[in-house]
Assembly symmetry: D2
């Protein structure tokens, strides 16, 4: 189960790679917000493959339709069903993979778990599942922006061994991120990343990378002790994205070797509220947002589906060689950017509604 996320803004996604459609039902969006497909489509288009020379060319428009929950362009407070019809249903493409589970992919574990697996292998592990998340995330993001001015921007900070230098967060924006097809906002690093990706495509190999995310203007007080700490929900959200292997927030893994006297963020007065001088906490203290920027990183492993032949075994345990057919992304992180943003929005939205429910 667990195709649902969130308690008060609950998103239930559906759809496999090659069924009739994919999408989501969003329950818990407050009524009266202006909402049409035009609010959702841009993020879906950013997620779509085939946007550039470095991503796969599966030719689908990913056109979203709102089936319920709005009338006259406004939300009714009722479930919003978002559907993207699959136009490219070709289960036949996956012939060889039916009998040979792809290494480091979901084919084997789905078969073990369910006793059956979709022709396309992983089924729900398909990247197309994220369409529902991104569509739902766009709704959450709009509400958060209108209500609190929240801004969420993610970008690619590393591809393979190439990492960009620490950026100035104050001028980070989606425009800057989208200025390069790698979605790395540091032009020189971006060029090197692109070159690496093209080399790997030629070599029929792949690599991983890191997506960073920044959430501005998040009100203080979001996050629920103790199991729904804001960083805990963000961690769950990010590790639920296919191909992710790690998450850290604020100083993260690098912060462990600092001394407390250096790592602690001293409080300072910032107008009506307290702020912090530094932000090693990443905007969260004790699991609750403190009003500072929320900053975190997500690690993506190298893409599992590669064209290079791999020595493995088939479902029966007999030796086999697998070479993935067709074109595959050598690196998914540029396309993962809007997914990370969407999941961040879903977490913040749910926590914002939780706080409204209980605040004095």
């Amino acid at each position: 189960m667990a195709s649902s996320f969130g308690d008060l803004f609950r998103v239930s996604t559906f759809g496999e790679s090659h069924c009739r459609g994919v999408g989501a039902v969003v329950d818990g969006c407050p009524a009266g917000m202006a909402l049409t497909e035009a609010d959702i489509q841009p993020q879906l288009s950013r997620r779509r493959p085939g946007q550039s020379s470095i991503t796969t060319h599966r030719d689908e428009e990913d056109r979203v339709e709102i089936f319920s929950g709005t009338e006259g362009g406004k939300t009714l407070g009722t479930p919003i069903m978002l559907l993207v019809q699959n136009t490219d249903q070709r289960p036949g493409d996956y012939g060889e993979m039916r009998s040979i589970p792809r290494p480091s992919h979901a084919d084997y574990t789905y078969q073990i778990k369910y006793g059956i697996h979709a022709a396309s292998g992983g089924g729900r592990a398909s990247a197309r599942e994220s369409i529902g998340r991104v569509a739902a995330g766009a709704i959450a993001e709009k509400w958060l922006r209108l209500r609190y001015g929240v801004e969420i921007v993610a970008w690619v900070s590393a591809v393979g061994h190439i990492a960009m230098p620490q950026p100035d967060l104050s001028c980070m924006s989606r425009d800057r991120v989208d200025a390069h097809i790698t979605r790395c906002p540091h032009p020189e690093s971006a060029s090197r990343m692109q070159q690496l990706i093209e080399e790997l495509r030629a070599a029929k190999d792949s690599t991983g990378g890191i997506v960073n995310c920044l959430c501005r203007q998040v009100p203080a007080g979001l996050g629920e002790p103790v199991f729904d700490k804001l960083e805990a929900r963000l961690a769950q959200a990010m590790l639920s994205i296919p191909a992710t292997k790690g998450f850290d927030i604020g100083s993260g893994f690098a912060g462990i070797s600092l001394r407390g006297s250096r790592h602690n963020d001293p409080f300072v007065s910032k107008g009506q509220r307290l702020g912090t001088l530094t932000n090693n906490s990443g905007g969260v203290q004790g699991g609750i947002s403190n009003g500072e920027d929320i900053v975190f990183r997500v690690a993506f492993k190298p893409v599992a589906t590669i064209g290079l032949p791999q020595e493995t075994v088939d479902f029966d345990g007999s030796p086999a060689t697998l070479s993935a057919k067709g074109r595959h992304d050598p690196c998914v992180v540029p396309r993962a950017v809007p997914i990370v943003e969407a999941m961040a929005a879903l977490v913040l939205m749910d926590m914002a509604l939780q706080q409204r429910a209980h605040e004095q």
Copy 2:
């Protein structure tokens, strides 16, 4: 809210640092399992402060009592209430902290969220909250061990800048971990860690560290697509532990720079099942356990409460200097070991019951 964790093995913890008691209600434990306090106390005792020269001396026995849910030493299938009475209730100790929020602690965010905060500051952010988790985790662990032979071992792999070398996982055990008070199973590293901790104690400063965790004999098929992927729930569970800043699984952050051809885990035949030759996946593929060892890491930040004076502001925004009174752990990671194990057990238990519910 969210003082509950799990859907089918649900743990609801309660208690602040200085109230009458802390503990948990465990709902969903299958009936008929032998269970007494003796199954729970050992892990609680491993968690307890005051065990060695390098941890704080708060003199409480942390004696757990089972108040309900068992009869004649067997579980009834009904809620198990676990209580540890607080014997050391001294809210008065925290006088200065009432008016000055501790930097990088939960005092400020609790005040903002609730409009009130416990005398002890963070309230539920207190380390004593983890007593309920550890007690509940011991129950989950026992069931998993009896049913599947699951073994969970965590250890300290880094303290500050000192990291132990990659260990041989096959001989990792709690005995080896507990052989040194740092809970680092590499003696030479352990000695250096201990020395660092003692230096920091003398300097009234603190540092962070890393806890690694290994889960053996986890059956394949656990983990629920898409939002309750096994790594997603583990990430939530670990980031819900106080002072954590990061989580990664398998190859984790280090794996991003590998090529797919090198990172993929080829399948091999292992008797009746398929296994993998390498384990960059960390035992999870597509969010579902594959039968290999589950291995992950958790990053802990430097302890926020330090004796060194810190320049900060009080709740009103006026400049203030804070120096924490009393003795404080310079490094929590040795004591975090059983908490990490407990949270891993809670995740695996919940996922195991989920799988029982839905399997064909």
Copy 3:
């Protein structure tokens, strides 16, 4: 919120009366069950208006499509999205009702709750919402039948003041129920009910009724103490159907005046299991099924939308007379029969999976 029902077999319905479509996402159906639209359509057709001279004529086919979760006619264990496209979208029909809330309908309360209401008035209170339930219920019913042989039959036992005599439950079947358009299996009562309904249609008035439900072959042990007692979940499920006002199980309201010595169901040996001689318990004891027939009743109020002029006030509080336009059912209970069956199936399915999760 709460457009979702169930914890382990979770149905999330969506759709208003006049949006693009209505339906449901079903998460938690075990994998490997044969399932096509043909398994679902019959119950939807039984629910559909326009089946006979005594129900409304809204000319929609209610043709269900499975959008996800199956492949090759088998369930994958993943979310099943069921969609019925609305072909009759005429929000304009409801002009007068926009300004005058219909007495005893949901128009007013939706406006108060959401600050907005759908052109069709109640929005989610529309009878069309039940399409998603019935479709999902058909899936649950199939699984329960295949796994345990469960049979669920509901029927009309009263319309207005006309009540049928106590039937012989052993020969109750859907065929017998459907033999008459009132879905009352007692021919003489059925004729009188039909006559009453036709009189009320002519008089532009309406009435209520009672639906009884019988669940056979339900395994003992289903139902979760204490808040998810089987009767508690059934009560919630039934009272969630539009226009319901009451629920009772077994001896129900009539049983309160009996003496315990007369009301208690003595145990008897029934082959391998214990059974009871009488069934005042209605198949449930202590909230848990005991293996006997589950029998309960659901009360439906008179239909609120009537053609007769009603003296009321508009949203501004000014006196107004409302006469509903168009044709309206004078009595919904015949069409409620498959909805009651569906909700019973959803409860039993969820409880069956709960029991699988936790049984020893």
Copy 4:
């Protein structure tokens, strides 16, 4: 499972009849509300057996202690653990019932469900489980009263065949209800009820009854379409109380035979809001409160445990005669009054927080 109730005000009860203690953890109570044991004890005392000549004499004080979640007499917003220690632990009393399941009691179904049952038989089906509900309900009630002026009053309207006449709701109060030990506010009926109960006690037999409940000043807008309609949650809540067999709201079962033109509640202007002239809806329309009084009834079956010998079979299916030892209530409805009130408060509280979360 399901020893928890509510999503945003979540009550998790624990405890069997003869374990160390019973109680509840309440998660989700807003911070800053004055709360001490004195707010909770009165309802617990009303629930307690041994209050009068017509109820059982189990000599326990049922003294509640708040173990967590408050400080200085105010709620902290964190889980409130409420404990009543059992002083009367005598599992030995139930010797004969170990081998002979009591007819219409939970002994048999618990054994089937769990493969084990408590010495006291039903375990969680014990009336003592309701202590946790009543304690939690008192907290909810206080918050609802302070925030909205909500008043909740329940009373006994029928015992056996004796039903009181329709009362004037406007002057119903707990004082009037408690004026007679039967908790029936109609003195003449109350006397007859008492006489019946005493006759049944002498005859070692029992009977059932009806509890009515009235909730005043409930704000309009509470209740969540479609599965958490207010009446649906109330129905679940009431049918989760031991020994209940039915629930109806507003006109209920009696309303089914009315015509719509007679049953509909016309709107009228009531100051700033709309009200209704009649209240057949029972304060709920479309599943959402409309601001009128909420009125419902709960049917309780005759007490199952009786002193009269009953012919039944033991767990092995062999004929046996069972005569319950000790003193048993011939009628539980007077003591059920505060339980019904508590469950109503829990539902309203949870729905109130839901509405706060989502309102515009």
